[in-house]
Subunit: 413 residues, 2 copies
Amino acid sequence: MQAILITIGDELLIGQTIDTNSAWMGQQLNQIGFWVKEKIAISDDAAHILKTLDYAISQADLVLITGGLGPTKDDITKQTLCKYFDAKLILNQEVLTHVENIFKRRGMPVSELLEMNKQQAMVPDCCTVLFNASGTAPGMLFKKNNAIIVSMPGVPFEMQHIMQTHVLPMMEKISDEHVLHRTLITAGVGESFLADKIKDWENDLPPFLKLAYLPSIGMVKLRLTARGKKTDNLQMPLDKEFEALKNLASEFLFAENDEPMEKTIGKMLLKKNANLCVAESCTGGFIASKMVSMAGSSKYFEGGVVSYSYQAKENLLGVKKQTLEKFGAVSEQCVTEMCTNVLEKFKTDFSIAVSGIAGPDGGTDDKPVGTVWIAIGSKHKTTAKKFHFTKDRSRNIELTFVHALKMLMSELK
Amino acid sequence: MQAILITIGDELLIGQTIDTNSAWMGQQLNQIGFWVKEKIAISDDAAHILKTLDYAISQADLVLITGGLGPTKDDITKQTLCKYFDAKLILNQEVLTHVENIFKRRGMPVSELLEMNKQQAMVPDCCTVLFNASGTAPGMLFKKNNAIIVSMPGVPFEMQHIMQTHVLPMMEKISDEHVLHRTLITAGVGESFLADKIKDWENDLPPFLKLAYLPSIGMVKLRLTARGKKTDNLQMPLDKEFEALKNLASEFLFAENDEPMEKTIGKMLLKKNANLCVAESCTGGFIASKMVSMAGSSKYFEGGVVSYSYQAKENLLGVKKQTLEKFGAVSEQCVTEMCTNVLEKFKTDFSIAVSGIAGPDGGTDDKPVGTVWIAIGSKHKTTAKKFHFTKDRSRNIELTFVHALKMLMSELK
């Protein structure tokens, strides 16, 4: 079953709004066996909407339209749908009562209801109204040439409400397919090396299983997708191949769930009943803030020191003056002292310390921009490792974070 | 001048990735007088790519394609472009040398370069290669029926690099329009309140000037856009109206350049030859990492302490035990001690301290989730203020950052 998503509104085209709706819709539709074949964003232009509708209906079983249903005059989706389906607008009493109730709830007299607000209760006579408890504009369902067309507001929680209450349950009944995904996260290895390592396995995959590489800074996600009829058993072959993939990629494996690295690390620390602190130079608090971004992190994260200056390294972390003078801040000696001292100060089970040259300035022949030392400490030992990253400041910060968590992961394992 | 954006890759259709590229591209193209007419996302399917290319080229002056240029076999954009333009792949020596250099920099012998990596240097013989210093896949420019077609990698910083170095400067020359923007940043005031305050001025704007409200967490950007032929003098009227807007919004004004708040603050600190340190609880290093994200921040940022636990507040920052016992960590007393003590430890001119309940748990009747204390310290005084933010953890962290910088800005002024 194929779906096409159409979003209507200038804000997406001029880059004022980032479209998060369609990612959510894609995920939900996948789960009930619908495959999003295409996403199209266009402006509030009647001719363009009509042409796009014609195209989408000819290509898909399901066409989902969001946006352009507001009460202001720049919103023209409803009128354009009337034109397309040759329909008249009629009053829907249930929607009108609902709009009036929203007004009352907000403490406004119904007599002050504007003509504009009443218009929200007018719907094309050929559509099925999908009641929207979360807002004033209802969803509208149409049928044409074996395709189902649904128009919804673009406000994320209103769209989600209509999808969950009406569209998804209806579509699940119609669908004869299902789609399953499993995702593996690898860190510290390039996409092509990984691909080379698993190529034989990948070539032997049965046709209903598909592998995708999703690289981002410092990591590559491997997504294995199974697609088939509802009557097919997909889970077992998917799990079997996923296990095989896990074994092949074991040395680079970071997690076997599609979740942020800081979440995976947090869960491992919790499981071990251990806690963590950090000493950061070049990342300037980035690692700490990632750890704290997870709800509940106070159970395993104690805090950290951002020792951006030499003085801070001495005063706050007790790095020896002679270490800094002899080896510099970006050195095995300094990062090791930072790591052991911060562990002691925070009295935690594990610590991370990083010191490097993020750039764009500050590099030398000896230590060019991108040189970073990372250390992982525990009561028993401290391990330090040197990395050569890029010339780009923000990438270096993110790469340091990824590799620090990868090193900590190895230690925790 | 009309543009169509095509993104290729299943990850967008199944909702694994949220498309941030096209918003950025839309903004950039707008500035040089290009209008994005349509955005289309499709999967790595050759027939669908060919059909979409045909459609886009018939409709637009500029077609920008992202995605599907990786070295692995699920990426088919390059081969499909060859088919479309009836081209052969030829080796580009500059790209090959670049790929080899990337390998060397990572400490890998060139002899280990895989066939897959070498393939990145193969380009269609009819295209203009747009060198990509940030990655291995180059951009490729084609021409057909008066349209310009550019294919770029989907990795955001690679795409941005190619756009900024090659595509935007070329397109700016072609465009007969120009678009000028000036942007004002306000903090701590709602969009509708601001709109009401400036409505008379906004209604009187000449037709070639347009105001856009760009609200984000804790702030509203006001972008004034002038659009006209290249021969029109737009700068003078734009500057005049921008000054008028600045006066109207003066009490909420944070900056008059569209730059990150941490950059504005950094420039002010530099100008005053002053430096800063931070003590963070609920933000967990977010403020420090924002400060450090700016190149050159070592000139005015010394570092900080992330005192996430009670113990860290006592041990690292010297907050008194009785303060924590009597008033709790989220209190004027605690945040004031954090602020004065961190200033002393780092010996800086200014300090920021924050302590709050980011959520989702940890709230009480007395101090619900979203309660945050922020203090600004200098040698002469410490000012603390209480805020009531939201129930959402990440929004609370960002709101704390925005308001802390707003408070520091007032102090610096």
